[in-house]
Symmetry: C2
Subunit: 206 residues, 2 copies
DNA sequence: TTCTCGGGAGAACGGTTGTTTACTGAATGT
DNA sequence: ACATTCAGTAAACAACCGTTCTCCCGAGAA
């Protein structure tokens, strides 16, 4: 008589090992790319039989897109907060600090996205591309709500938002490569880059 | 009694099959990443025995760094020409056109660089990073030669050059993803991005 | 010519891969 | 209480992998 929304011990255990597979894969992907990640490699790290993999994913590419959506999907809410800042200078600091904390708390996720964005697995590439396009849309919408956007064409606004998102991805990669000790240096460089873009934006309509 | 500079049939044949290995690898890497590229896979595509691979490279990672230097090394001369343009607007058109032609004539090389820049093989990542840093240095030197660079700190100039290079890599990736039909659209977007940066550069010292 | 060097061929090795098939047993619905 | 569903197991499969060893034979030096 239990309703469909009750979790049940059964489905809870299933999603538990599913998450274990995702976590193990993410860890293994720190030193290789998805197209070389083996099915057995993942199950061995978790401690389950190789065939158990098929109960959750069709292949490692399928696992990859799940990893993309879990990593980037939960980020839209966080991004919205930083974009709510109206001051141009304050938003720059907020955004860079957000990226820095993201890389600090979960570097493996960031590395995975950076690596597979242009990686060898097509479905994963497309999943990342779609998510980044969603981010750019949200940034463009936030820009459009501001008074500085007056006189801007929609295409130019979309271009500006695209540069903004790409700059943030590049900054995240720079944080990764620099390590914890070079964090402050990357931060200041990123802030200057954003300031350069902000200046260009102010004088766009001349 | 032949002098050391005479090629000889022996060394010519060796570099011939070495180049064949590089070409075959580049073609195979269009649909996968280097960390999953097999030694036998490459030799099979060329038509030589698997053991012949060891006469030229230690492993596939070694082949990767050779591929990086062959791809990016020959580009420094071409870049120098575009940077010689003094006009700010003309240089933008020249640069974007150069990237477009590069992607058109050898897309596999561009895809390889984009894919392995953050890929799973450390030595290759470092080789690409070193080459891109060289590009940024050249761009910074070209900027420093201009009158607009007056009052700029060396660090800010380096930052500007870094953004320039990263923007070009991103543009090359955009050309790849868009395909031949969307070439004009990517070109105009890239030109607007460069113009945005150029505007910010003009008002940097306020 | 004769000797040496070295790129390439061939076979074999132990190990790993993805996938299939049949099976177990505990949580679930009736 | 019983029947069913299904996540996970176990074993086997052919195919592939990187690497080692031995041999071959033509180019280049003597």
């Amino acid at each position: 008589m239990s309703h469909s929304h009750t979790v049940g011990v059964r489905q809870a255990q299933k999603q538990k090992t599913r998450q274990a597979l995702l976590d193990a894969a993410l860890q293994l992907l720190e030193e290789q790319s998805l197209s070389s990640l083996g099915l057995r490699e993942v199950t061995r790290a978790v401690g389950v039989a190789p065939t158990a993999f098929y109960r959750h994913f069709r292949d490692t590419a399928d696992l990859g897109v799940a990893l993309v959506e879990q990593t980037l999907g939960s980020l839209h809410a966080t991004i919205g907060e930083a974009l709510a800042e109206s001051g141009d200078g304050v938003r720059i600091d907020r955004t860079v600090a957000l990226i820095a904390e993201l890389v600090r708390t979960s570097p493996a996720h960031v590395r995975f996205i950076a690596r597979e964005r242009h990686g060898g697995v097509q479905p994963v590439r497309e999943a990342i591309g779609a998510q980044l396009r969603r981010f750019a849309d949200e940034v463009a919408a936030a820009f459009a709500r501001e008074p500085e956007a007056a006189g801007w064409s929609e295409a130019d606004l979309r271009m500006l938002a695209g540069v903004y998102v790409d700059l943030m991805v590049m900054t995240a990669c720079a944080f990764l490569e620099a390590g914890p000790e070079g964090e402050e240096q990357v931060s200041s460089a990123a802030r200057r880059q954003l300031r350069l873009m902000s200046l260009g934006r102010r004088h766009w309509l001349d």
